[in-house]
């Protein structure tokens, strides 16, 4: 009898153990957030952990990138597109128990667009002229000019609603309205979230969500193999994916991202001022070799600065087919029969470092010599992005729908085309979907024909998941890991 009692006790313990594990999820991430305020830093890791889980905005992104109601249940837009009236959900409370009402929305938006704001995406709020609380559940936002993407802008992590009561310690103790509450942060190791039992919407399935930060790809591989983590989001070493695919314990989800990976060209630096030289660079590049060599086959070739999964995408890859002979003759035509030497500055991600070595070798084949320097992000921002001291660089532009950067002549690749700039102006003011699509297609074609940059591939997001987990977003329409609908299947 005694023996039996013991074994059943043991069985109970085992059951309790698995039940515990099944309602919690450990997510592996490469980067740790520097702090926990999504409204005052650019670090994508902050959004990954907190967006939609802890903090919510007026609108929110769906798994397919669509813009859905968030804290605003509905909205009305005035005829001229200048006045947005948001109807907030009732009975929403912050995690500290204070009510979320119109005053909090006014506070959040005013804070983001204030003179001394440290919001990394302040441009999202540029058109806002005034925000007023009509009553506790109604907010009216007035814009100075119509903006077709205003609701889209309000879904960004940088536009989440925060409370004046808890703003002071937001960087270490974030208080939001989401389905998860912030619980604990072991710096250098992990952040824990727990389920918000008083959530206004459908509560989360998971009781706890732990984000574990493992930046080293080898350690990530070992952690996943040892099942120390349940999900590894944006898995850093594509070369290891076949090993996970072959293992029945795991599943590999390859999703699309908003990351257009480009060989950016300094359009104001000799000899790249000549469109023939830029065209030669574009034709000298073998995209497939880069995707295979740097990403082990992961990624979709692109011919312009636009995400292929977007319905408005135009396939322009044939505009810059791999053709080294054509590249050589273009160089001769432009007056560089023997090629020239330029710099190639590479930020840390492996797509850039590995891709850079491959591109250097491809450019060398048509006579263009490159001096590679591997930079840290801070150096890259200083030298390349702000200082514009570069010939070529490789970077992935991960912001959704960012073709508008080509309308900013001061932007680091320094493309200045008045036609394109007025086109983007029209696009911003346009609210008719059909006309917008048309303008977007034109914009893509212009930059492709001008060979502003070398368009390489759309970054794919590989996520390694333990079998039996459901509801993980495979695509990454924004830098968020929305766990609100994740569950274990049993």
């Amino acid at each position: 009898m005694k023996f039996k009692a013991l074994t059943s006790a043991a069985a109970l313990v085992v059951l309790a153990g698995t039940a515990q594990a099944d309602t919690g999820l450990i997510v592996g991430l490469q980067l740790e957030p520097p702090h926990l305020d999504p409204t005052s830093a650019a670090a994508g890791a902050i959004d990954q952990v907190l967006y939609s889980n802890v903090f919510e905005g007026l609108t929110r992104f769906g798994p397919d990138g669509s813009v859905n109601p968030g804290l605003a249940a509905s909205w009305d837009i005035s005829e001229d597109g200048l006045r947005y009236t948001f109807n907030l959900r009732e009975g929403v409370a912050f995690h500290d128990g204070t009510a979320m009402d119109a005053e909090d929305v006014v506070f959040s938006l005013d804070r983001a667009r204030a003179e001394d704001s440290t919001n990394a995406q302040k441009a999202l709020f540029a058109e806002i002229e005034g925000v007023e609380a009509v009553d506790p559940t109604t907010v009216r936002v007035t814009l100075s000019t119509a903006n077709g993407s205003f609701l889209f802008n309000m879904a960004w992590g940088d536009a989440v609603i925060v409370a004046s009561e808890s703003i002071e310690n937001i960087k270490t103790n974030p208080v939001g309205t989401g389905a998860f509450k912030f619980s604990n942060w072991v710096q250098g190791d992990q952040i824990e979230l727990v389920r918000n039992e008083d959530y206004w919407g459908t509560p989360a399935n998971l009781e706890t969500a732990t984000f574990k930060f493992i930046s080293d790809p080898t350690a990530a591989f070992a952690a996943m193999m040892a099942e120390d983590v349940d999900v590894f989001y944006s898995y850093p070493a594509p070369e290891n994916l076949p090993q996970f695919e072959a293992d029945a314990r795991f599943e590999v989800l390859v999703g699309s991202s908003e990351g257009e990976t480009i060989l950016a060209i300094n359009n104001l630096m000799e000899p790249f001022t000549d469109v023939r030289v830029r065209k030669a660079v574009a034709h000298a590049i073998d995209r497939q070799a880069i995707i295979d060599g740097a990403m082990f086959g992961l990624g979709t070739p692109i011919g312009t600065h636009f995400a292929p999964h977007n319905p408005d995408y135009v396939d322009l890859t044939s505009n810059s087919q791999y053709d080294p002979e054509l590249a050589k003759s273009l160089l001769t035509e432009a007056g560089y029969p023997d090629g020239f030497t330029t710099t190639l500055k590479l930020p840390p991600p492996s797509y850039a470092r590995r891709g850079g070595e491959i591109i250097a070798s491809q450019l060398r084949a048509v006579g263009i010599q490159t001096e590679i320097s591997n930079l840290e992000w801070a150096q890259w921002l200083e030298q390349v992005f702000r200082g514009k001291d570069f010939g070529l660089t490789i970077v992935s532009h991960t912001e959704p729908f960012d073709i508008g950067i080509y309308a900013r002549p001061e932007y680091y690749f320094q493309y200045d085309n008045a036609d394109f700039q007025s086109l983007i102006k029209d696009l911003t003011a346009e609210t008719d979907p059909a006309k917008r699509s048309e303008l977007i297609a034109m914009a893509q074609t212009i930059i492709s024909n001008d060979y502003v940059n070398g368009y390489l591939f759309q970054l794919a997001v590989p996520t390694v998941v333990k079998a039996g987990i459901q509801g993980i977003w495979s695509d990454a329409p924004t830098q968020a890991i929305d766990l609100t609908a994740v569950s274990w299947s049993n």
Binding site: D116, A123, G188, A222, L381, E382
Partner: protein, 315 residues
């Protein structure tokens, strides 16, 4: 004697001041703006300026230098730009990993080196000596990060005895914590143990040649007894000096190993802080490490002189 200590104290203060100025200047000229780094590529210039003001970066370098130094004198290292937490807290937290790691590595290295060194010295010239010393030559020549990679391959990826990196925290229990530090400590200890074993051997061999050892042998002690009773004690001075040097090296030099194993220790803190341009953290940690070495050197100097006043003019 008092005068000697006083002059040494003065030169200690001068050294510290020079060191702080050098560190500050070196770090000040690093290109890269912490505010621009934190706000990323879509940030507007006025936003960056606002953040710079918030971080206190808009004041003159001289003002910041004196602010930093006067803060440090009172034990206040300032606040990290990126993490926005007090640096002294961050350092204290990281030391809970770096210090045990250094101590374990040092203990391992000493435990390996002593018997090996004694064995080789007592069998000087024999095949054992040649083989053992051959291994230590190899140990000195192996880059510790490569050794670490190989150990990860064997023990973490293939055998799965250890995790390949990370630190679960001491809250998870002493055993779990020690387990996470095992591979890093071994990778750090191997080259150090080889060096120490070689020092141990040559120090013992040197003393074995000295007169008092011959006397001891003549008095009828066998080789083993002679080594135990006399040679070991005399060989301790160079050995302890090396151990002292190794400790400060292990504390600061574990950067690469902490990165290979992804341990949130002091080394990785600085490494990350450099790439994030969290300059005030870099300054404070480097200063702390330099301070530790200078003060230890000072203490050692004084100790030597107290023991043997003749040593005063050497060094």
């Amino acid at each position: 004697m008092a005068r000697y200590i006083l002059t040494r104290l003065l030169s200690l203060l001068i050294s510290l001041t020079v060191a702080s100025a050098v560190i500050f200047a070196l770090i000040e000229i690093i290109p890269g703006d912490p505010a621009a780094f934190m706000l990323g590529i879509n940030a507007q210039d006025d936003t960056i300026a606002a953040l710079r003001a918030e971080l206190g970066l808009d004041t003159s370098p001289l003002e910041r230098y004196f602010g930093w130094v006067s803060g440090m004198v009172t034990g206040d290292f300032g606040t990290s730009y990126t993490y926005r937490t007090p640096i002294s807290e961050m350092i204290a937290e990281r030391l809970w990993i770096s210090l045990p790691l250094a101590l374990i590595a040092l203990a391992l290295s000493t435990l390996i080196a002593f018997p090996v060194g004694i064995l080789a010295a007592s069998k000087r010239g024999s095949l054992t000596d040649t083989i053992v010393m051959g291994f230590t030559q190899l140990g000195v020549a192996i880059p510790n990060f490569w050794f670490a990679m190989l150990m990860v391959l064997v023990f973490a990826i293939n055998l799965r005895w250890f995790s390949a990196g990370g630190f679960p925290g001491w809250d998870e229990g002493l055993f779990t914590g020690l387990k996470a530090l095992t591979l890093p400590a071994i990778s750090l200890a191997l080259p150090q143990a080889s060096i120490l074993a070689r020092v141990m051997r040559s120090a013992l061999v040197d003393t074995l040649d000295e007169d008092f050892m011959r006397t001891a042998r003549a008095k009828g002690l066998n080789r083993r007894q002679a080594i135990q009773r006399h040679a070991l004690r005399n060989a301790m001075i160079p050995v302890l000096t090396i151990i002292g040097l190794q400790f400060s090296f292990l504390l600061a030099g574990a950067i690469i190993i902490e990165n290979v194993f992804f341990l949130p220790g002091l080394g990785r803190l600085v490494f990350q802080a450099i790439s994030q341009r969290d300059l005030i953290v870099v300054e404070s940690v480097v200063m702390l490490l330099v301070f530790a070495v200078i003060v230890v050197n000072f203490a050692v100097d004084i100790a030597y002189v107290l023991v043997d006043p003749r040593l005063r003019r050497q060094g």
